[in-house]
Symmetry: C2
């Protein structure tokens, strides 16, 4: 394997989009944050039920801190009809960092999500006023709810591009509101983020720097929402991530599911159910991003000048910390190319037997060599 970054030292990374779940899954996943070279995470609120109150968010933070105190947890609320401008002001005072908006029904635990953005305008106005970040899951909802014309249907392929007018209209209506288009997957999304003002940014995952549609077609482990798109979209993401443009920074969207759920076996029947959406990258996020950059360098998608330390460190944390207004990293890690093989995570507390599909979370690129991370 190529190893452009072998042996280098980097500031601890920040991961501005993580799913840490709750209960035994949380207990298994939270300790892997630092394994992945990360000391700061922005935590998604799509628990069951969703985190819609300040007290629920603060309780959740305490549960996470009890598992791993050496990580800084930036908490978020789940945008929901129960959230008012007063909730926003209370959240700001409590140090909550953002509000996540899920369109109803587009991904894991999003059934309580947003149907109509207009009804949230007073909430967005309060967020703009107190300077709180709006985190958008940027996909238009499935077309069954919007049109019966089969020529205009929203699919997993065009759902992100179809959402971009909503991003632009929110930005126009609330020009000082800080907005993040989460997990950009298309060249169109990258372009839309660029065209907005400096208070609109986009996060990019590790797995979308690797995957295209062929990688998840028939492979539940690589299936997530938004789905990985075309090779040309992947190129656009790699170029954005190495562009030195502070509007683009890392958010893994690491999304753990038990293997049985990834395979659609947890429907209680014969096992012919649908696969849970989400790629789990947490234990190796830093290594995965560096590997993706290695690969891009090797095939000429990016040049060495795109992989200067300033740009890489900016993407991996510097730009995001600045956007969220949190301190820059003080701790460092050293990375070693091919220094480890990717391991799965075992979720405890269920069966006493050898780890099987009901207590294993399969990590992206499981078994493959990747960068080892050492805290220094």
């Amino acid at each position: 394997m190529s190893s452009f970054f072998d042996g280098i030292e980097l500031p601890a990374a920040a991961d501005f989009h993580v799913h840490l779940r709750d209960d035994r899954m949380m207990e298994a996943v939270t300790p892997t944050i630092r394994q992945g070279g990360v000391d700061t995470v922005f935590v998604m609120p799509n628990l069951v039920p969703p985190v819609t109150t300040v007290s629920a968010a603060l309780d959740y933070k305490k549960r996470l801190q009890a598992i791993e105190p050496n990580v800084s947890y930036l908490m978020s609320l789940y945008l929901h009809s129960s959230i008012t401008p007063d909730t926003i002001r209370e959240a700001k005072r409590a140090g909550i960092a953002g509000v996540k908006s899920y369109p109803a029904g587009v991904t894991t635990n999003s059934s309580s999500g947003v149907v109509d953005y207009e009804s949230f305008y007073p909430v967005f106005a309060a967020m703009e006023e107190v300077d709180m970040v709006l985190n958008l899951h940027g996909e238009a909802p499935p077309s069954s709810s919007t049109t019966t014309d089969p020529m205009k249907q929203i699919t997993v392929l065009n759902a992100e591009e179809a959402f971009l007018p909503t991003l632009k209209s929110l930005h126009e209506r609330f020009p000082r509101l800080r907005i993040i288009l989460e997990h950009c997957t298309t060249a169109a999304a990258v372009e839309a983020v660029k065209q907005c003002g400096p208070n609109v940014a986009g996060t990019i995952t590790a797995h979308h720097l690797f995957l295209t549609i062929d990688d998840w077609a028939g492979d539940p482990i690589n299936f997530c929402k938004p789905v990985a798109k075309l090779p040309s979209d992947r190129v656009a993401l790699l170029k954005a991530a190495t562009s030195g443009d502070p509007k683009f920074f890392f958010g893994s969207d690491s999304a753990p599911h038990l293997l049985s759920a990834k395979k659609g076996l947890s429907d209680g029947g014969l096992g012919a159910g649908k696969c849970a959406a989400g790629v789990f990258t947490q234990p190796n996020v830093l290594g995965f991003v560096l590997e993706a950059f290695d690969n891009a360098l090797q095939v000429g998608i990016v040049k060495e000048s795109g992989l200067g330390h300033e740009r890489v460190q900016g993407f991996l944390g510097g730009y995001g910390r600045k956007f969220y207004g949190v301190p820059q990293a003080t701790r460092k890690v050293r990375v070693k190319a091919g220094g480890m093989n990717v391991q799965n995570v075992t979720v405890g507390g269920q069966s006493g037997n050898e780890a099987g599909m009901n207590d294993t979370v399969v990590t992206f690129r499981s078994g493959k060599p990747t960068y080892a991370v050492e805290w220094i």
Copy 2:
């Protein structure tokens, strides 16, 4: 459910693309042909090892006839470097109906497939001379073998369209050769078939009349190659199937796999493997096509005039029988809307226990009501 065809009588359908497999899978699947309202099938040769000799094809036919003698089996050879013009002449004398070409590596059991069409020109010339059908799996092979330029890569989405120039060039070079573009999935493929002469036809499956990309994203049961494409492509297929154009006729590409293989559990490890490609429709093919037409009528994709008996019967067998030069149906079936629920198929001979993932083939639209078929 809508039921435009409730109670009508139809000639026995012909299914010009079936996978009947071998051994215990063959024994489970072959009896479902007539359940699906079909009396004539064109049998795919992608066994392991592939059917590359006339004697292997005739032996296979005998095994099928022993299971269900009341079906007419049109046999095929697997295009392979061992096939010569002499093989073609021998095959013609033996009554073999076609030669199937799989590009290497594109779908189930295609590893022995075609890398370079030019090396087969003498074979195609012999086929043209003796008037034998060439059946094309019309997908360009994965791009790793053709380009490293990520902007020009072949994906599961554009693989069919990227193959169409090959179809056209084969048609130009062998203008009298009868060619079928199997399992058309795109508007582009429909258009290409139309533009060729009358000895070029296209088959259309039942499941591609239902599915689009969102239906197989995260659902291994609906995953097949070629993958179902966009809503606009599905519309083009429905319009072609109801157009009365004899260039388009039914071939189900019914492809049975054990549920464990569909779920990617048969890799011997934890169960994190890839899903087998293929949708199984055999026991209900006629009902599925009628249902798809019902749905298309309901949302206005086709008009009642597109569902005249002549067109529907032509698509379901008349046009294909004429293309292959086999007799028109003499037997009839009567269909009853909602007369049954779709059942899975149990494969015998393995375990003595209740049917599980290792002895069940899940049928498309399992459990849903569909047309019942009665032979009269």
